[in-house]
Symmetry: C2
Subunit: 324 residues, 2 copies
């Protein structure tokens, strides 16, 4: 049973770790339910890459466009009311078109690249975007350095994430995932502070392997989580992911994809776990643990779905916090 959402949470500080589409949806719900200043989103940048000399940050843009109300609801990436003049010309001149940038989307990419070229950090450029588009919550890239997620295929080839994800449409079987380009990378002071200041840390329903794990792999992050109240929302429902290769990644890596597998993935520091109503029957067979499970509708089609899930997350978090 999900406790009803009640007032009295306006001092709760929530920091959410998120990847792209699914994560962005829950962030929209949290952003609507919480007051300005309550929510900080820490967003995966392991998928970032350089294309046409421009810094591309797919998850950060999905999150920012969603929070700004600019996201294309059809694709789950890019902007709504988009035009494609530049992409059409790129096709005409035989330039690579596998990563589709719309004209409006491209304008922001140009402006961000200008800011980065001037020595601004990705964190600062993101703050500038939030200011332009009136986003009330704070959005932080997980770090300012390049921290590429690399995919090793069963054929032994190393791929950049977008190569795997967009160009090769997740076809290759995965043998290994290397986070942060196999380097030790620190996050920013702002990220560390947002984690330390949080009453509640939420792992959004994003891909555990390539959206959340890169953030967890940053120096110092996981040790803070172990001291905090952490809730995760399963991106896996009935053994599948609504979008993206999360389920296939579990399988490729020899793990049966399920909500329980997600819970186990995070069990070192998890306090609460929200999974979909559709998995209630399966949950009866899960191993006992101190993690508090909660079933609810996690599929977010409408804004009401997003706020309902956000309320469920906060309510469960508040309940756990009260119980401490």
């Amino acid at each position: 049973m999900i406790p009803k959402f009640e007032a009295g949470y306006e001092h709760l500080k929530v920091t959410a770790l998120a990847g792209g589409v699914g994560g962005a949806k829950l962030l929209v719900g949290l952003d609507k339910v919480l007051q300005p200043g309550q929510l900080t989103a820490i967003v995966n940048t392991g998928d970032d890459f350089s294309h046409f000399g421009l810094h591309i940050s797919p998850d950060l843009d999905s999150v920012c466009y969603a929070l700004a109300g600019l996201a294309d609801p059809m694709h789950g990436w890019g902007r709504k009311d988009e035009s494609w003049q530049v992409l059409e010309e790129l096709r005409r001149i035989g330039a690579p078109d596998w990563f589709a940038l719309g004209d409006r989307d491209l304008a922001w990419h140009l402006e961000r690249q200008r800011l980065l070229s001037e020595g601004k950090s990705l964190t600062e450029a993101t703050a500038h975007f939030c200011e332009i588009f009136g986003i009330q919550s704070r959005v932080l890239p997980m770090c300012d350095e390049p921290a590429p997620t690399l995919i090793k295929t069963k054929e032994g080839e190393w791929l950049g994430f977008q190569d795997y994800f967009v160009r090769l449409r997740c076809q290759p079987e995965i043998a290994e995932i290397a986070l942060l380009g196999n380097k030790e990378i620190s996050t920013s002071e702002l990220v560390i502070q947002a984690l330390k200041d949080a009453d509640l840390i939420v792992l959004a329903p994003s891909n555990p392997w390539v959206s959340i794990d890169p953030i967890l792999a940053l120096e110092g992050v996981e040790s803070i989580l172990q001291e905090k109240t952490v809730i995760s929302v399963s991106p896996i429902i009935q053994g599948s992911a609504l979008k993206g290769p999360a389920a296939k990644m579990f399988s490729d890596l020899g793990i049966h994809p399920s909500s329980e597998a997600v819970r186990q993935h995070y069990e070192d520091f998890l306090d609460g776990f929200i999974f979909d109503d559709l998995d209630v029957k399966d949950a009866e067979k899960w191993q006992a643990s101190a993690i508090i499970n909660e079933a609810c509708q996690t599929i977010m089609k409408t804004d009401e779905d997003k706020t309902a899930l956000a309320k469920a997350v906060i309510s469960l978090g508040a309940r756990i916090l009260q119980g401490r």
Copy 2:
């Protein structure tokens, strides 16, 4: 009297030095009059700069778009049949809009930046453009390194050329022009070869100070010109430039702007000089010199004007070559 253009020039190798708009027009004429392989254009890159992280090469693009038949005849820069979706969005988000990049123009800028990011040279990227758009003549940037033309104002401030030219609309009075960023810069082997192989070297009707001089300032260029038959077409008519700040630059630097001043500017290596019919009366008062003067219509409004001027240039060149 201009000799009639006659066949028999199909083995003449012509290398033309050019800047943007005016230079591009004569190049179009030469390109139409000559056979594939006869013409090489060496184009000023002193105006190049970086904008939104993209390499911008205004003269090179004016020349390439003109030769490809894609140039906007209204502005003299950018592409015809252009759309402005990206620029409109840049304005909406408060990004700098002083350098106008249309959507189609931007596609080529992105593709060029991709090639440069992959380690291709500006020369190679330009060759790729010529191939895509079926340009029969060869276009070479004057060099592959950054070689910025810097403008010192009478207030003592140093400006990048586009800052002076586009953002400040040539308002500041010029105290000094520093070519090649005040460094010694070599050009490419291809440029040296195109100069050495040329039967005839043409200085297009481009700004002497900031379009032609940067090319002449490259190591080894001027010494080759001294051995060659060199013809210049005056960009100054009746003391004014048709476009751009050439006349104002002469004045700022204390020289009365005139066709004769252009001829004097190049007199160390010039063999023939073409100036406009409108200046014939003035020419009677010019100092005597070994340079062969030729008056004709140099204003190029139509393609016929361009080919007529190109024929005049080649005829004069052939006449000088025959006389040697």
